[in-house]
């Protein structure tokens, strides 16, 4: 079954319409304001406040109204959106796999971004940057995004810090960084995100988990082998151990959420059997994606 079929496309179109309807009135002014700048195309007026560039004062209006009115112009710059998709070995687990789910979310959000004429960057990473799609703009480029995501080859250990550091140290404009991962990083989930914060990106985090991780069905004497590091551990799984694991998993999520709240990062956690379109709508409701 193809990852991005017609049904998926229909859902994307639906999400695109929904996004416009939901966010148009609420965020329009702010979005425009962010785009007001040094362009040549007149956009709007607003009252002058101290600190404004008085070169943009409309003196004719002053003469007619005896008020200082500032002329606003369209900003020609678009918003770069960076989609970081974790393709480490751990993302291949789950039903459907966490990677497939991440790719669908990335594709959906990318489509919304492209539809809003934002510049979309899609990057896959594990222990380093594994592949990178050149910036795309416009809805028509979504198929290129699909092909890129479909061609992703999973594998390797997770090292987000190294990957993001490599990516961000190249000359990049600040933008919205959407990180889609399970964040099972041996070095800690915050290490990679700290890098993005350091480069002052607006960050949105989507933690993808599977049911097997949330509530594992294990029993008895086992050797657990880490899919990324191949480290093994002998363990006797008892109900007590399972309870301790579930508590640890919940603690991990709480720590992650607290971290995101502390630095005002967008955060969503999902499981792979949750409808991805619902998740995308949740992303919209968080108000960080479309500005």
């Amino acid at each position: 079954m193809p990852l991005f079929d017609d049904e998926f496309l229909k859902k994307l179109e639906y999400l695109s319409i929904i996004s416009k309807r939901v966010f148009a009135g609420h965020f329009k002014a702010e979005r425009r304001a962010r785009r007001h700048g040094t362009g040549v195309e007149f956009a709007d007026y607003r009252a002058y406040v101290a600190g404004d560039d008085f070169r943009h004062l409309d003196w004719k209006a002053y003469l007619r109204l005896n008020k200082l009115i500032l002329r606003l112009f369209e900003e020609e710059e678009d918003l770069p959106i960076y989609f970081f998709v974790d393709t480490s070995q751990s993302m291949t687990y789950g039903s459907p796999s966490k990677l497939d789910y991440a790719r669908r979310i990335a594709a959906a959000l990318c489509y919304i971004g492209l539809a809003n004429l934002d510049r979309a960057y899609v990057v896959t990473y594990a222990d380093k940057i594994r592949s990178e799609l050149p910036p795309q703009r416009g809805k028509g480029r979504i198929f290129k995004v699909f092909r890129f995501l479909e061609d992703v080859t999973p594998g390797g250990e997770t090292n987000a810090r190294e990957a993001f550091k490599t990516y961000c140290t190249e000359a990049r404009r600040r933008g919205l960084a959407v990180v889609i991962s399970d964040f099972m990083d041996p070095a800690g989930f915050q290490n990679g995100i700290d890098i993005l914060r350091h480069f002052r990106h607006d960050i949105f985090v989507i933690q993808v988990t599977s049911h097997e991780e949330v509530a594992p069905v294990l029993k008895g004497e086992l050797v657990l082998v880490d899919s990324e590091s191949n480290l093994s551990r002998e363990i006797t799984v008892t109900p007590g151990v399972l309870a301790a694991y579930r508590a640890e998993f919940a603690r991990f999520g709480e720590e992650f959420e607290a971290y995101c709240a502390k630095y005002q990062l967008g955060y969503l956690r999902t499981v792979t059997d949750y409808p991805f379109e619902e998740l995308v709508l949740k992303v919209f409701r968080q108000g960080r994606f479309l500005k």
């Binding site: 070995q89 751990s90 993302m91 291949t92 687990y93 789950g94 966490k98 399970d182 099972m184 990083d185 041996p186 599977s210 097997e212 991780e213 594992p216 294990l218 008895g220 004497e221 086992l222 050797v223 657990l224 082998v225 880490d226 899919s227 990324e228 590091s229 480290l231 093994s232 551990r233 002998e234 363990i235 006797t236 799984v237 008892t238 109900p239 007590g240 151990v241 301790a244 694991y245 640890e248 998993f249 991990f252």
Partner: protein, 598 residues
């Protein structure tokens, strides 16, 4: 402590092997199932947190091994079936002796017999027995004496097979010291009871009138006229009206009523001249009689018939006279030349002659003859004397041969024959021989000397000898009187049939046949065409005086039971189950395995 199922060495070896195997398996462990998970990051943290309690975890694992070893050892010891005196008491041994004398058949006030009460009491004792108790069940008649066993069911089966019989009572020997002996009896006909025996009495006073004597006999003056002697005794405390009935095989019947004072007997003669031959039954009836076994007695009335006897002789006055004087003999005399075998003849007497072929009826041969069916003479001996004779043989009963003179006798080889009288010691010269008891043909008696060469016919023993011979040849006789129980008859290898005509198992014992006669009645012993009736009656006053008891029961006889009622293996297995559950909660249920990174 000792082990019942295994030896101590076997138990020790099994215990060592089991403990070793459990510990080895613990260290070897089962191979863990390998499972690849996306990330061990969180599992690592879980184990790190749990390993903070590593000391307790290790202790719990050691406890788990110890529990597993303990469970294994408990099961091994359970299999070995230990006997631990401190837990279940030393194997207390109890001998239960049941009185099987016939008075135990007396019915009690509740309608059940003393015997039924006794067996119930014995079974109740068996049921109260604990694990450490071993039982031995025996009776006073010597028929049952099982070895000590802890199998109460086997002891119960033995009790079920017991029954009261009339036999010499004897108390079973108590070999082992410390054995608790319990006697259950009515105390009527007890053997000597050792000291220390605890008693359970099933005695209850009861009324009983029983036949204490019943005999058919003939008057010496009229051998063919028979009468019955009957004696009935009232063993109760009150006078009893008793109805007496004597009946035979035919319609003849004699009835009489008698009122018998307490402790007194009624006896009388009953003329049986009108009775046809066969079994005679005497029965008494009185209200409220507690013992039925002594209300009936049996005897046998010989068939009123003379034996047709053919004397083959050239002429022998003494012999003819002796035979003609015998009341039971219907004599015919022929010359040897005119001898022809006659199927109507009951017995033959050959004097100085023997046919070439053995006749189909018993025969007395006087004088050794050279014919194929007899031993031929091998020579002659002069003036032999009767030095030995077998007095217990029916033919030689009541004979005295000391003064008999013989001028000449033939020598024969007596191999396979029964020598009834002989001369000298070594070598013996047989003078009177009988056919082998194992021979299949008709019986015969041979005198190795002629009557003309001896003064035997002039002795008073001669007619007795002739009568004995003809009786032994199969003349119908009175029944042998016997009492219920083990019965002996002086006939070797006899086939015994009971009152119902069915064969009774019997055993040959020296020169007699022994069988078990549990019920009163007429038994028949048959051998070689000869038939002997045995009247088995319960007429012994020792058994019938059912109120004779002066016995007192021991107060509340109960077995000394240990605190633990079951065998130790039961508790060992129970403890093993408890430990198994404990092990489950300490290991499988709540404990994680030791983790490590490869």
């Amino acid at each position: 402590m000792k082990f019942l199922a295994l030896t101590g060495l076997e138990t020790a070896l099994l215990a060592i092997a089991t403990a070793g195997a459990i510990v080895a398996l613990y260290f070897l462990k089962l191979r863990h199932r390998r499972l690849v998970i996306p990330s061990s990051l969180l599992w690592q943290r879980v184990l790190e947190r749990r390993e903070e309690r590593s000391l307790w975890e290790k202790l719990r694992r050691i406890l788990s091994v110890l529990l597993a070893v303990a469970i294994g050892l408990l099961m091994v010891f359970a299999v070995a079936r230990p006997q631990i005196a401190s837990l279940t008491g030393a194997a207390a041994k109890t001998l239960i002796v049941l009185d099987t004398s016939p008075s135990m058949l007396a019915r009690m006030g509740d309608g059940r017999t003393r015997w039924q009460h006794a067996t119930e009491a014995a079974k109740a004792l068996l049921k109260t027995g604990g694990a450490g108790l071993e039982f031995r069940v025996a009776d006073t008649s010597g028929q049952f004496d099982m070895p000590f066993t802890s199998d109460a069911a086997a002891a119960q089966r033995t009790i079920d097979n017991m029954r009261p019989v009339a036999s010499t009572a004897s108390f079973p020997e108590v070999d082992e010291a410390g054995t608790q002996v319990i006697l259950i009896s009515d105390g009527v006909s007890l053997p000597a009871v050792p000291n220390g025996v605890r008693r359970i009495s099933v005695f209850e006073p009861a009324s009983n009138a029983g036949i204490t004597a019943f005999e058919v006999r003939s008057a010496p003056s009229a051998p063919l006229a028979f009468e019955a002697y009957l004696e009935v005794t009232n063993f109760g405390k009150e006078a009893r009206k008793t109805s007496i009935t004597i009946s035979g095989a035919g319609p003849e019947r004699i009835t009489r009523d008698a009122v018998i004072p307490p402790g007194q007997s009624f006896s009388d003669l009953f003329d049986l001249s009108k009775f046809a031959g066969g079994g005679i039954r005497a029965a008494i009836q009185s209200d409220g009689d507690a013992l039925a076994a002594d209300d009936v007695a049996y005897a046998y009335l010989p068939l009123n018939k003379k034996a047709r006897t053919l004397l083959v002789t050239k002429g022998n006055t003494y012999l003819q006279t002796a035979l003609r004087l015998d009341s039971y003999v219907d004599l015919s005399v022929v010359d040897p030349k005119e001898y022809r075998e006659d199927p109507a003849v009951d017995a033959y007497v050959f004097d100085g002659f023997a046919p070439a072929v053995q006749p189909a009826r018993p025969a007395l041969i006087i004088g050794a003859q050279s014919v194929p069916w007899l031993k031929s003479p091998t020579g002659m001996v002069d003036k032999p004397e009767f030095s030995t004779w077998t007095e217990d043989h029916p033919v030689m009963q009541y004979l005295s041969l000391h003064d008999v003179s013989i001028s000449r006798a033939a020598k024969i080889d007596a191999a396979n024959l029964t020598v009834l009288a002989a001369s000298g010691q070594k070598p013996q010269i047989p003078l009177i021989v009988a056919s082998s008891p194992t021979a299949t043909g008709p019986r015969w008696i041979e005198l190795t000397f002629d009557l003309q060469s001896s003064d035997f016919p002039s002795h008073e023993s001669f007619p007795v000898f002739i009568d004995n011979v003809l009786t032994w040849f199969g003349r119908d006789q009175l029944a042998l009187p016997r009492t219920t129980g083990i019965v002996e008859v002086p006939i070797l290898n006899a086939q015994i049939s009971g009152p119902d005509g069915k064969a009774v198992a019997s055993q040959a014992y020296i020169d007699r046949t022994v069988f078990d006669a549990p019920e009163t009645g007429l038994y028949v012993a048959t051998t070689g065409g000869h038939r002997q009736y045995i009247a088995v009656n319960l007429t012994n006053r020792q058994y019938l005086d059912i109120n004779r008891s002066t016995w007192t029961a021991s107060p509340a006889v109960r077995l000394a039971l240990p605190f633990f009622q079951h065998e130790p293996w039961f508790y060992l297995l129970g403890l093993a189950v408890v430990l198994l559950i404990l092990e489950w909660f300490t290991y499988h249920h709540a404990m994680s395995g030791k983790s490590r990174c490869d």
